[in-house]
Amino acid sequence: MNKLNGIHLAHNKGTKKCETIDFPLPKSVIIPMSQHMGAPCDSLVKKGDEVTVGQKIGDSGAFMSAPIHSSVSGKVSDVTDYLLPNGSVCKAVVIETDGLQTVCPDLRPPVINDRQSLIAAVRDCGLTGLGGAGFPTHVKLNYDPAKTPVDTLVINAAECEPYITSDYRELMENPNDIIEGILLVQKYMGIPMCKVCIENNKPDAIELMKEKTAEISSIDIVTLPSEYPQGAEKVIVYSATGRIVAEGELPSHQGVMVMNVSTVSHIYRYSQDGIPLVKRRITFDGDAVTENKGNYFVPIGTRVSELLSHGKAEDAKKILYGGPMMGMCLYDTEQPVTKTTNAILAFRKGELPKTTACIRCGKCVRTCPFGLMPLMIEKAYNAKDVEELKKLKVMLCMNCGCCSYACPAHRPLAEINQLAKGLIPRK
């Protein structure tokens, strides 16, 4: 088994020891009707409606979508247009909180007794991947076992991005929920083997999980090297099972399903209390945060400005959803925490070093986990040479950013790759 390339980053996991605490309830939340890939939801409430915690406020008939629930109790003050980070516009429900956090009286634990009822329950829960990419979880579960039988569940607890410790906290705080969640998924999906993959920079988590699963033969704890991007889907599948998810394939084509560790434990909690995904743990860190760095349970829809004032982060110049390698910049501090936000990082400095000419050092090629050739892709992109781009397999690029990071000329290679993908006509 060849080792895939990657880079070593400073971990900066200063919030590691910060036990998760509830973030103070904001006066109002703004919940976008599109929080991940897939179809946006339609708003089910209108201005003036009273809502309770866990009440469904958005849904869609589309398969690639998950319902959205209110994270607070209070009154809908507006249903507005909301500009998504990707530039498109969707609706967003603004709710003034009443401070009572009354739980929706209709919530019940779901009845799960087979594959279909598990998938239905996961959808009702509004669950999406909590690791950042945010694929609706029921879509992932809904593979066809006749065509692509899955024999291994890979639990992604690599958390290879610097700063973020939210999955680590899940491992430390709720190991039993994780294990119960895994067993639940294994049982109803009929997946015999599970591998929980943790980077070796979290030895206590590895220890704890090993201890807790010592008696369970269907769960293996896999120690991964701490090298970015171990947590990337194809990389973790390869590290855990040696299987290669080829071009155009999903992990299920290789008999694998990858699930984030916090996602799987949330499935278990939902099966017990029936409370959908209305709050999530985020890591709040970065050098602009002067106070109260740590891990918080934050109601979905909480504006980032609330966090910033909690952390006295007045001179934040760059604020990220997620980690420094793949995270997305906020353009406005009024943007909210969504289901897929695993961290809010605020930094004082935004600029990166100046870009200079490519010197053909080959560093980008040597760091790309997939062995792509970003320097050649950039050339082909500038020449708008679609055939060459196809030959260079630009579509395989996962935008992990290793190439841009490593380039001594500081060329924005990962970004160019994404632009280059746009030139290739979709089939």
Partner: protein, 332 residues
């Protein structure tokens, strides 16, 4: 709170930069350049200084004339100047050194778009042009320490031009190395300013390999293939070792055949490049009309680099071979 900085990911960058890489190369070259100054005296230092300063000035002026961003701070012109100077004899007239710098920077590097764009190594291309145009001054090799010889400048043979044939008193011919191994390693032989001190060159090369600035693939393939061929041809281990230590092979293998812009990107490509250089050097040294072939070999391989690059693309992880279109059955 306005004025948030928005940029695509990643939001972190290496602390390495082109300037730092060039600085490392300069550091790696210094021991050998210093050795050259010791062996060949102040003249050597003057040639090096002239080459470096004129390369920087030409780079500066070219960027101004072409109305491009200034690039002298990336230090690549310093590296080119240093390498060019190290590849000239200490007795090179100043004007020849300046012409060499002009060829290297203006014609070979900047006319093709500057750093990273040139097809041939500027220092090598300049050396080759000078060799062909100023054959006399480019091949008058002074012996080391000539400057302390008050009588006259002595020119002498280099390890590549000196004869191995000696005669016993009774007139029988026998082979003997013209220099001792110690002289070869320390570089107390005739030659270009920076090419003679094998110890310093190897130390510099190893430094660059260990720090990850260059890949070991090219020098190993270059020196290895040359040594193998020489050994097969001469059958003599001594001659093989002398061949490796002589002339521009070490400086070429470690510092010029590893130039990023003009050599292949992938390891496979670098190995092919290195073997090509070793083979060409062997052929030119043994069968060509020039005693030295390193520069020509590297220059020739520089020209082949785009093709080697095309043939040695990486195979990305999980990439599928394009499915060949099914042969049409000829119905239409």
């Amino acid at each position: 709170m306005n004025g948030l900085f928005v940029s695509p990911s990643p939001h972190r960058a290496t602390t390495m930069s082109t300037t730092k890489i060039m600085l490392m190369v300069i550091i790696a070259l210094l021991p050998s350049a210093a050795a050259g100054c010791v062996f060949f005296g102040a003249n050597a230092a003057i040639v090096l200084a002239v080459c470096i300063s004129s390369c920087v000035v030409f780079e500066y002026l070219s960027r101004i004339i072409m109305k491009r961003e200034q690039t002298i701070s990336d230090l690549s012109a310093v590296v080119t100047g240093l390498l060019l100077g190290m590849n000239l004899p200490a007795t090179t007239p100043i004007y020849v050194a300046i012409i060499g710098s002009f060829i290297a920077i203006v014609i070979v590097k900047q006319l093709f778009g500057g750093i990273g764009q040139n097809f041939a190594n500027p220092a090598i291309a300049a050396r080759v042009v000078l060799m062909l145009s100023f054959a006399d001054s480019m091949t008058s090799w002074v012996v080391p320490y000539w400057y302390s010889d008050v009588v006259d400048v002595t020119t002498g043979a280099t390890p590549l031009t000196a004869s191995w044939i000696n005669y016993t008193e009774s007139g029988e011919a026998y082979k003997m190395a013209p220099f001792t191994l110690g002289e070869m390693l320390w570089g107390e032989t005739g030659g270009c300013i920076g090419e003679t001190c094998a110890v310093a060159l190897i130390a510099g090369g190893v430094f660059l390999i260990v720090t990850g600035i260059i890949s070991a693939a090219t020098p190993v393939a270059f020196i290895g293939s040359f040594a193998l061929l020489t050994f097969i041809y001469t059958g003599s281990a001594v001659e093989t070792v002398y061949g490796v230590l002589a002339g521009g092979l070490l400086i070429g293998a470690f510092f010029m055949a590893t130039d990023y812009a003009t050599t292949p990107v992938t390891t496979k490509g670098k190995i092919i490049f290195g073997i090509g250089c070793g083979l060409m050097t062997f052929i030119i040294r043994n069968f060509g009309s020039f005693p030295e072939g390193v520069s020509f070999a590297i220059l020739l391989m520089n020209l082949l680099t785009p093709y080697i690059d095309k043939l040695t693309l990486t195979t990305p992880f999980g990439a599928k071979k394009p499915v060949k279109a099914e042969k049409t059955t000829g119905k239409e």
